[in-house]
């Protein structure tokens, strides 16, 4: 497109009638070439006045392109304003053209049989020679499992990597908090596991809303991940024979989960971090910590860099590269309270979405049933308790609403409530699976009871997870084995406690630390909480978004988990993307860039993006508001949690959309950020993140509203069986919803990627 912006003076009469001391207004002009070949002139007054003698008509020849000469006493300020005005106009024109470029969705899945697609694809993609890689820069945003592993591998291949994270060290990304383990189809236990089984379990677990080829690839590379990590020195749990140990995890029939006590995420991340460190030492990775991505820069239709904010100095910086990789994680913090880290945010992904990348399945969220409940309004964060607790704990609430009230007020102790007055609602509703129903079902059932007024903590949002019968059961077993008196209640109890302690000791201790109650004596209180988002940026088989040169990996993309993620799969996906998938697919794109040379970060596109961020920050900092950022974030979280949480319906979703729109307006009107923008200022950083959550929230509701079916974590109350089971609609909704940005978010355009299943038969996920 032909773009030309010029400055000119606004003559109102013939030029020769002016004297050199006359003042004229400066305007910016833009000549737009229309489809019919003619030029359309857009002229805008700038409000800046300039004497004829101070006007430099050859301004376009000078390096600084200043139209007003230094003879004007205020020339610097005037030129600055003019520059900004031109930038404004430029960006206006730019934006009109962004969304037009999106071609129909092409997932680029290679042809051929499922199990050969990946190897064939790897053989066919173009490569970049080591000599050329040295001249190519790649930006990676986020340094968790996906980002860290991608940085390490890309740098090792020879690319120059610029890595960014908002934490003070790349080792602190929230991947570190993953507890359980990582799946891999190694079949070390000889229990019949295979690549196909892992693939099948993942597809089925995702309720048939993920892309078959991607999931199969994930299963294929899974076992390399374990080899890789062991070679890096990740201390996985081992058996006495010295070989790796496995545990079994939710919803599958084999033991394929590798683990390092309850800190698998930490150990894997430190592995990736160490691989990164090696490349930092070699100078192949330039690590930028405490930098937050503010925007992506697109030059000639390709992702060519990002704008960041230095969180220490507040400086807005421009960084260019030949490709941009987003590994910025999930957006569970949309809910305000989640198990995500405080800093986890959607901003990077959302900015990319606003620049033209499609956002897929935003409303697919996993809500984990066993978390420590909210204890008060001040609560900032929720803590997950391992799913394994449901093996031995029984979940209940009081049968009578009066008892629930008494328990809430502390007038009644839960242990004193008669067995007959307890409602073991999961066992009642799902006699076959009982307390071991899948996560989404357990979560919804807890919400249903609490909404009906049976919640058991101060806030009324908690149910009991009771180990007393397990303690007695185990105690009796132990007494029998030891030949002791099983009628001795106290003895049996203490033996049982010993067994429970051996199994879940660390979790019980953690619970006691947070809640200050002894879970061996009184039942635990639990409540569901958000902890993973399956949705994310839409990517093709190469993990590229709809913006050429912009990739998304790990939780930031929508790829492999469909509508529901299986336990121990998030770590697998992050590392698979970063170590093995992206480093292969990105070469194909960069093969075109071997002659491009360094990308300048001084082009108008960079300057515009930078200016816009600075303006936005200025606006927030100078806003004469009265309410803190957290005030808005908390309200947003409540809206989303109540209307788009564990179960959704049309009416609530519609009202959520309206409420979020209203909240967003109010945010810009009355948000208050104090402190200095040019120093470490967390509330400013938070304000910028929440501003994006306020937009994503609306799309989240729009997405949930558009999907008239229930699948995985997405449960629409209108679409359920008589028994309250999720009712999937494969005929009409067997697709990925990929949304195209619209300033009016409600009007975002839906693109559908239809999902074809060649190797699996679509079945109902049954657990009754």
């Amino acid at each position: 497109m032909n773009k030309k912006i010029t400055y000119s003076l606004n003559y109102r009469k013939p030029k020769n009638e002016y004297s050199s001391d006359d003042e004229l207004t400066v305007c910016v002009r833009y000549y737009q070439k229309l489809d019919n070949g003619k030029n359309k002139v857009v002229k805008k007054s700038t409000g800046i006045k300039c004497k004829l003698k101070d006007w430099d008509s050859d301004w376009h020849k000078a390096d600084n392109r200043h139209p007003i000469k230094a003879s004007d006493s205020d020339y610097l300020e005037k030129n600055r304003i003019l520059k900004n005005k031109s930038v404004d106009l430029h960006s206006l024109i730019k934006d009109r053209n962004v969304s037009k470029n999106i071609s129909p969705l092409n997932s680029k899945v290679p042809k051929g049989p499922l199990d050969l697609k990946w190897s064939t694809h790897k053989n066919n993609v173009r490569l970049v020679s080591p000599a050329n890689k040295r001249n190519i820069d790649i930006i990676v945003v986020g340094t968790g499992l996906a980002g860290g592993s991608a940085c390490a591998t890309l740098a090792e291949q020879g690319y120059n990597v610029k890595a960014f994270c908002f934490q003070d060290s790349s080792r602190r990304a929230h991947s570190i908090a993953a507890q359980g383990g990582i799946n891999a189809a190694k079949n070390y236990q000889g229990d019949g596991d295979s690549v196909y089984r892992l693939f099948y379990d993942t597809i089925k677990g995702g309720d048939y809303r993920s892309r078959e080829a991607n999931v199969h690839r994930l299963a294929e590379v899974s076992s390399s991940i374990i080899d890789q990590c062991v070679a890096q020195g990740v201390p996985f749990a081992r058996e006495y024979g010295g070989l790796l140990d496995n545990r079994s995890f939710g919803g599958v029939l084999v033991s394929r989960t590798f683990y390092a006590k309850g800190q698998t995420g930490q150990q894997l991340l430190l592995g990736a971090y160490s691989a990164m460190n090696r490349q930092v030492a070699r100078g192949k990775i330039q690590m930028n910590t405490r930098h937050e991505m503010m925007d992506i820069v697109i030059v000639d239709g390709k992702a060519r860099g990002i704008i960041t904010r230095n969180l220490i100095t507040g400086e807005i910086e421009k960084h260019s590269a030949h490709a941009v990789v987003l590994a910025s994680g999930g957006y569970g913090n949309l809910f305000y309270l989640s198990t995500n880290a405080m800093g986890s945010n959607v901003s990077a992904a959302w900015k990319v979405h606003k620049k033209g990348a499609l956002f897929a399945n935003p409303s697919f969220t996993q809500i984990h049933p066993t978390c420590i409940p909210v204890s008060g309004d001040y609560q900032s964060k929720l803590t997950l308790m391992s799913e394994s607790l449901r093996n031995d704990g029984r979940i209940w609430v009081p049968k009578k609403i009066e008892d629930a009230k008494k328990i809430r007020n502390g007038e009644l102790r839960p242990v004193d409530l008669n067995e007959n007055d307890r409602d073991y609602y999961l066992e009642r509703r799902y006699p076959a699976f009982g307390n071991l129903v899948p996560r989404d079902v357990a979560s919804r059932a807890a919400k249903e009871r609490c909404d009906a007024g049976y919640g058991v903590n101060k806030t009324g949002e908690a149910v009991f997870l009771d180990f007393s019968s397990a303690i007695i059961r185990y105690g009796k077993e132990k007494a029998l084995v030891k030949g002791l008196d099983i009628e001795d209640f106290e003895l049996v109890k203490s033996l049982g406690k010993g067994v429970i302690k051996a199994k879940y000791g660390n979790l019980f201790q953690m619970y006691e630390k947070i809640v200050d109650e002894n879970p061996y004596e009184t039942p635990m209180m639990i409540y569901p909480a958000v902890h993973y988002t399956m949705g994310g940026l839409w990517v093709d088989y190469n993990l590229m978004t709809t913006i050429p040169g912009c990739y998304a990996i790990g939780e930031a993309n929508f790829s492999d988990h469909g509508a529901n993620r299986l336990g121990a799969s998030a770590l697998m996906q992050g590392l698979a993307d970063g170590y093995f998938v992206l480093p292969n697919t990105i070469n194909d794109y960069l093969a075109d860039d071997i002659k491009t040379g360094p990308i300048s970060s001084d082009s108008p596109e960079f300057n515009i993006a930078k200016n816009r961020i600075e303006e936005k920050i200025n606006k927030i900092m100078t806003n004469k508001g009265s309410k803190s950022v957290d005030y808005f974030h908390k309200i947003l979280g409540k809206i989303i949690w109540n209307n788009c949480g564990m179960s959704r319906n049309k009416k609530d979703l519609n009202s959520a959309i309206k409420e979020i729109q209203k909240l967003r307006k109010e945010f810009y009107k009355s948000v208050k950020v104090t402190g200095d923008q040019f120093s470490f200022n967390e509330s400013l950083a938070k304000a910028l993140r929440v501003a994006d959550f306020l937009e994503l929230g609306e799309l989240f509701a729009v997405d949930a509203l558009s999907r008239n079916e229930s699948c995985g974590g997405h449960f629409r109350e209108e679409y359920q069986t008589k028994e309250g089971e999720a009712l999937r609609n494969d005929d009409d909704y067997r697709f990925v919803s990929a949304w195209e940005y619209n300033e009016n978010i409600e009007q975002s355009k839906l693109h559908r990627e239809h999902l074809d299943f060649e190797s699996v038969e679509l079945k109902n996920r049954s657990y009754k």
Binding site: S169, K186, A231, L243, Y378, T383, T674, F680
Partner: protein, 248 residues
């Protein structure tokens, strides 16, 4: 409960800092320490002040971001936890609480309670890795059996969250516990033995360059370590270092 806070405020690295007094009321004993700080900051924002800057992220004791020196001890009076896991029920109504940043020359203050711990990153970059390619074309994971005892010890060392409490608690601001955990994790595993000699020398040299103090074996670090990393790893580090130097 009502509390009297004495918090270190420092605008930036160059500025001079001082202890500022705050009074805060209606604190629930169920709050975590950081939630109490959130409440304080909300109050400061309300009064148009500059909120207290502090590092925090996961708030479940694993990321190692939080770094407060509370009443004379890193991560507060409780052992084996980080600041985010400390709860207000640990304090009494009317208590005075000193809140300071982790102090060391190698941890320059960025603002208020936020310090720059990138020295730890640089120590790791100097050798805290095993030099293998990330191609995935390595040996099968089960090719090298590792004695469970060593695997477990390596894991115990690897649980270090890099928070810097060891440096903060040490009267000499020594980073020996951190470095020893990193060195030991790798040197206990056969994969890591290959580069053990260079690794320990490089990492110790980098540690010294960063300006940490010398270890005088007071043992404060392992008492305050939120992950309970043992002093034995320092002994191991000493041994490794001497051995490496004799070999070189």
């Amino acid at each position: 409960m009502k509390l009297f806070l004495k918090i270190w405020r420092q605008k930036n690295n160059q500025a001079k800092g001082k202890i500022v007094d705050y009074e805060i009321d209606e604190i629930s004993p169920d709050m975590s320490f950081l939630e109490m700080m959130d409440v304080l900051n909300e109050k400061i924002i309300e009064e148009d002040g500059d909120p207290v800057a502090f590092d925090h992220d996961c708030r479940e004791g694993i990321c190692g971001s939080c770094s407060m020196f509370i009443n004379g001890e890193p991560h507060g009076p409780d052992k084996l936890i980080t600041t985010c896991q400390l709860h207000m029920r640990r304090f009494k109504d009317g208590d005075t609480i000193y809140i300071e940043p982790f102090r060391a020359k190698a941890f320059p203050i960025i603002k208020d309670l936020v310090v720059d711990r990138s020295a730890f990153d640089r120590i790791q970059q100097s050798g805290g890795f095993i030099s293998i390619n990330t191609s995935g074309n390595t040996l099968d994971a089960n090719t090298i059996p590792i004695e469970k005892e060593y695997a477990d010890k390596a894991f115990d060392a690897a649980t270090c969250i890099g928070c810097g409490a060891c440096v903060a608690s040490c009267k000499n601001s020594s980073a020996m516990l951190f470095v020893s955990a990193k060195v030991s994790q790798f040197s206990l595993l056969p994969q890591g033995r290959v580069e053990a000699t260079d690794r320990v020398i490089n990492m110790v040299n980098q540690m010294d360059e960063e300006g940490f103090g010398n270890c005088t074996n007071t043992g404060a670090c392992h008492v305050e370590c939120p992950k309970g990393i043992s002093l034995d790893y320092i002994a191991k580090l000493n041994r490794e270092y001497v051995k490496a130097n004799l070999k070189k």
